[in-house]
């Protein structure tokens, strides 16, 4: 077997040194009747070429984003990732190292985390950021748990503009922990009056912007309302690129920002691995979940970096930890950070402008189709359209024509009376021809 360095001779010598006659002797602690003796119903080993063939067969059964006009978003975005990013994250020393528990021989990972934390803080305009969580949804759940610890209150108020999967995740966690999570009804046009629900038992309000339907929301008033009642505002985002052009959480006095970082540096990957971004006000530092990297010096006085404040974490604090997270999204955060380093302010801003412009152009093209309405007043690169008839059917028909034309809102919010809505995203990867193809396919789907 190509991955196993030991050969028969090695094994024999090693057994001899150990002083047992066979490898099975090493498994003597397994109750005899529980030892596997039968052959398992699994295929025989495959050569590399055979594995490639089998997996290529499966891959070829999927329609890849790059191969068709593609307009799906809803929390995961198809952006162009520079070739350099994937090259660099595949460096052995990044790819195959563990969590940097031995800082003297992990300065590369540590400095990259320190830079990532600084970038995330700058991007969100928050004071501090951690070294990443699993994804945007679990980051949101962690933010809620953190708000509960800080406020010592139970209730979380979830905006109707929050991504339904995020809301679901928060609700599941809350339910399990015996806490309260109140989700407002789907709020397609950002019309809800969330502040009205904040009371003295409210730990936090959770509001997304750009929201699930693509609307931009000004969180400043909600922040004020929260703070007036001693609650925290958790600002959520699913499209990090928007922060190049849109007012960031910190500028609206959010207490915690939780978001999805996939859209910088990372591919769609059918939903994972993704990247949870997590930032907060400095005063809440000790309640942060996840790893933190800090600056220090070495014995020669040189700057260096270490994981720090780990007394918050499960491996020290166990059942009292701020979170159970251990393995996080290290490599995805590195990809994010490299992409952002390549972009810089200038590039990010330009990228965000292109996304916005392409979405505006698309909105205009779609709105021009008889019967189609764009529901958003404001948006970044994603918006909601209302069509005559079923969104699901239209999307399926377009897929049949080779256009991946958005997500039917009913897929995430079934039985909500929103069956005629489609969520549509445009990014820098879409050409004018793609947008035209989409408009054509939608027209076709509606007319048949």
């Amino acid at each position: 077997m190509r991955y196993l360095p030991l050969n028969g001779e090695d094994r024999a010598e090693m057994l001899a040194r150990i002083g047992v006659s066979s490898c099975d002797a090493l498994f003597a602690d397994i109750p005899e009747d529980k030892r596997l003796t039968q052959r398992l119903d699994l295929p025989p080993p495959k050569s590399e070429m055979e594995v490639e063939r089998e997996l290529a067969r499966l891959a070829s059964k999927n329609v890849a984003a790059g191969s068709v006009p593609f307009f799906i978003g809803a929390g995961a975005y198809k952006h162009h990732v520079p070739a350099t990013v994937d090259y660099l994250i595949q460096r052995s020393e990044f790819l195959t190292s563990y969590t940097p528990y031995q800082p003297e021989i992990a300065q590369g990972t540590l400095q990259a985390i320190f830079e990532f934390q600084t970038q995330v803080a700058a991007l969100t305009a928050m004071d501090i950021a951690n070294a990443s969580l699993y994804d945007g949804s679990t980051a949101t759940a962690e933010a809620v748990a953190m708000a509960r610890r800080i406020t010592k209150r139970s209730k979380a108020l979830l905006s109707g503009g929050l991504h339904p999967h995020y809301a679901g995740t928060v609700r599941t966690y809350a339910e399990m922990a015996g806490e309260e999570a109140i989700a407002l009804p789907p709020d397609v046009t950002a019309a809800e009056k969330l502040s009205a629900y904040i009371d003295d038992n409210t730990a936090c309000a959770v509001v997304q912007s750009p929201d699930f339907f693509g609307n931009l929301r000004d969180l400043s008033d909600i922040a004020a309302a929260c703070h007036a009642r001693g609650a925290l505002l958790i600002a959520v985002f699913t499209e990090a690129v928007s922060l190049g052009l849109v007012k960031p959480p910190g500028a609206m006095d959010a207490d915690i920002a939780a978001g999805e970082g996939q859209s910088l540096g990372n591919r769609l990957n059918f939903g994972g691995p993704y990247l949870g971004l997590f930032a907060a006000k400095a005063k809440y530092l000790r309640q942060m979940p996840g790893r933190l990297c800090g600056e220090t010096i070495d014995a020669l006085g040189r700057r260096g970096f270490v994981l720090t404040l780990s007394t918050r974490e499960q491996h020290i604090r166990r059942d009292k930890a701020t979170s159970n997270i251990c393995t996080n999204s290290g490599l995805a955060s590195l990809a994010f950070s490299i992409h952002l380093t390549l972009l810089g302010d200038a590039g990010l801003c330009r990228l965000a402008q292109i996304n916005h412009a392409n979405a505006v152009d698309l909105a205009e093209r779609l709105a021009a189709i008889p019967g189609v309405e764009v529901l958003n007043e404001t948006f970044f690169n994603e918006f909601t359209i209302k069509i005559p008839g079923s969104g699901q059917r239209a999307v399926d028909r377009m897929a049949g024509e080779g256009v991946l034309g958005g997500v039917p809102v009913s897929r995430l919010l079934p039985k909500s009376g929103l069956d005629d809505l489609i969520l549509v995203a445009a990014t820098e990867v879409n050409t004018a021809a793609d947008r035209q193809a989409f408009a054509g396919a939608l027209k076709g789907a509606l007319s048949c």
């Binding site: 991955y3 090493l26 997996l55 999927n62 929390g75 020393e93 007012k247 491996h315 302010d345 007043e377």
Partner: protein
């Protein structure tokens, strides 16, 4: 996992002088500033077309203050990250014997497969008809996991081991609730040697943790478990093989006790590498177990993540698996995404459907080995750990060095005490010799633990060199050669780092230096 801080010695003047060059570089060891020091916000390493001229639709929410993010041209960025990378140790460069971490070889085939356009460029919310291959892959991965563990269902959603633990406990909670015992059963038994995520997961899912001590031979005593069982107990979380590297030989008895008490048996499967193909947790009575694909099934750790922690389930717990999951309908595969279709499901634990990128890698690994190869890998892992154990036990002490271990060998620092040295010192001296240290100070039950997990990926020559070096270090320690340890590491990109300072005065991001 390094659990404790060591001393922070100031290096000698002489050493400082020796290291000095004008640039601070030393040959191929090149110092590198922060991007905030070298980059500029007006620079960029990405060329982008002009945006279309449109009427913006941002309302009043345009960003006013730029983020202040520095940009680097592509050559500068490449150099920055290549230089940083060169400051890291990696499996690709040497043995990485972190106990409990299963740092095995990460095949590059898997990386190539995960990057196939048909896997990497598909969106989780595409119409199901356009992702049949992806769903088939998830179904196939599930099949492998079920057959290998002897379990009946799999929840693929968990992002890592800890997430899997929480997922498993949520499932158990849902099952208990379905029996009407939601209020009464809220205690989880957790052995003291358990990984920190176990108690943390229990708390975060609303359980109370009740510790169980191990007996002197390192495994759990059924009697101790029995004492702690009761109608309030929802589950036991048992790591098997456990974090001392021992197989819990009474697991079957414990499982039946637990079941008899109306509770569930959660198995922490982080150490499944030791027994895959040799025994099935399902046969041992487990109801739920997470598997760290980023350990057992070779997906890379990436300096901290990402991973994937699928949870295999017994038939009793299967109905309570969270959404989404894949269902086969005739020749087609479907995703069940809502509890409306799975009324007993324990909700949703994250967005979308799981760590597809990790699934591809893990399945590539499984297909490459076949069941036979996986068994051989487990045997080699255990063989290698025992080889290390017997080769070091005369010079290093440890609580169980006299008995057979599974995939990892546990030593402790007591033998270093006479020399005034600690496991921490020993670890740092290993760095100078070109090795990543073992896990130190975990498990907590062993004072000054040093936990060595070589995995099956090391050649005998590699093990022999590792053993010889550790013996040399051990003899040096016993000889009282304190200098070799106190100053270590000498040859790494950094000498010992002041962790106390980092924690006392946290500097968690770069800030513009104030002009003096």
């Amino acid at each position: 996992m390094l659990m404790r801080q060591g001393q922070f010695p100031k290096a000698s003047e002489a050493a400082a002088k020796e290291a000095k060059t004008f640039t601070g570089n030393r040959g191929l060891d090149i110092e590198e500033g922060l991007i905030f020091e070298t980059g500029r916000p007006e620079n960029t390493g990405v060329d982008l077309a002009e945006p279309l001229p449109v009427m913006p639709r941002l309302g009043a929410l345009k960003r006013k203050e730029p983020a202040g993010l520095p940009g680097l041209s592509e050559p500068e960025a490449v150099r920055h990250y290549v230089r940083l990378s060169r400051m890291n140790y990696s499996i690709d460069a040497g043995i990485f014997p972190l106990g409990s971490c299963t740092m095995k070889h990460n095949p590059r085939l898997n990386e190539a497969m995960a990057r196939l356009q048909g896997f990497a460029d598909i969106h989780p919310l595409q119409p199901e008809s356009t992702v049949q291959g992806a769903l088939e892959l998830m179904a196939e991965l599930s099949r492998w996991l079920m057959v290998l563990t002897g379990m009946d269902a799999v929840a693929l959603a968990p992002r890592a081991g800890a997430h899997g633990e929480a997922c498993g406990l949520m499932i158990i909670k849902a099952a208990i609730a379905a029996k009407g015992e939601a209020q009464s059963r809220n205690v989880v038994l957790v052995p003291e040697s358990a990984h920190g995520t176990n108690p943390a997961s229990a708390t975060s899912t609303g359980f109370e943790v009740r510790p169980v001590p191990a007996r002197s031979s390192g495994t759990l005593d059924p009697a101790e478990v029995k004492k702690r069982l009761g109608p309030e107990v929802a589950a036991i979380m048992l790591t098997n093989p456990n974090t001392c590297g021992l197989f819990e030989k009474d697991t079957v008895e414990i499982a039946s006790m637990v079941h008899a008490a109306g509770a569930y048996f959660y198995c922490d499967g982080a150490n499944f590498n030791a027994i895959m193909g040799k025994a099935r947790p399902g046969d041992l009575g487990a109801d739920a177990m997470h598997i760290n694909l980023h350990k057992t099934f070779s997906t890379p750790h990436g300096g901290g993540g990402p991973g994937a922690g699928p949870v295999v389930l017994s038939s009793r717990l299967a109905p309570f698996a969270p959404v989404p999951f894949v269902r086969r309908e005739g020749d087609a595969f479907r995703l069940v995404e809502h509890c409306s279709e799975a009324p007993q499901a324990s909700g949703r634990i994250a967005a979308f459907h799981g760590q597809m990128g990790t699934f591809v890698r893990a399945l590539a690994y499984m297909l490459s080995h076949g069941a036979e190869g996986l068994r051989q890998a487990a045997e080699d892992a255990v063989l290698s750990a025992n080889y290390v154990r017997v080769s070091l036990k005369d010079v290093m002490s440890g609580p169980y060095t006299g008995q057979v271990c599974m995939h990892e060998a546990l030593f402790d620092e007591s033998w270093l005490a006479p020399a005034g040295l600690t496991a921490f010192d020993f670890a740092k001296a290993m760095i100078d010799e070109g090795f990543h240290p073992m896990t130190v100070y975990f498990p907590l039950v062993t004072h000054g633990a040093m936990l060595i997990e070589p995995t099956e990926s090391e050649s005998k020559a590699s093990l022999d060199l590792f053993i010889a070096a550790l013996r040399d270090l051990a003899l040096a320690a016993k000889r009282g050669d304190r200098a070799r340890f106190a100053g270590a590491p000498r040859h790494a990109p950094r000498c010992r780092l002041d962790e106390t300072r980092a924690a006392r005065h946290p500097v968690l991001k770069w800030t513009k230096p104030q002009p003096a």
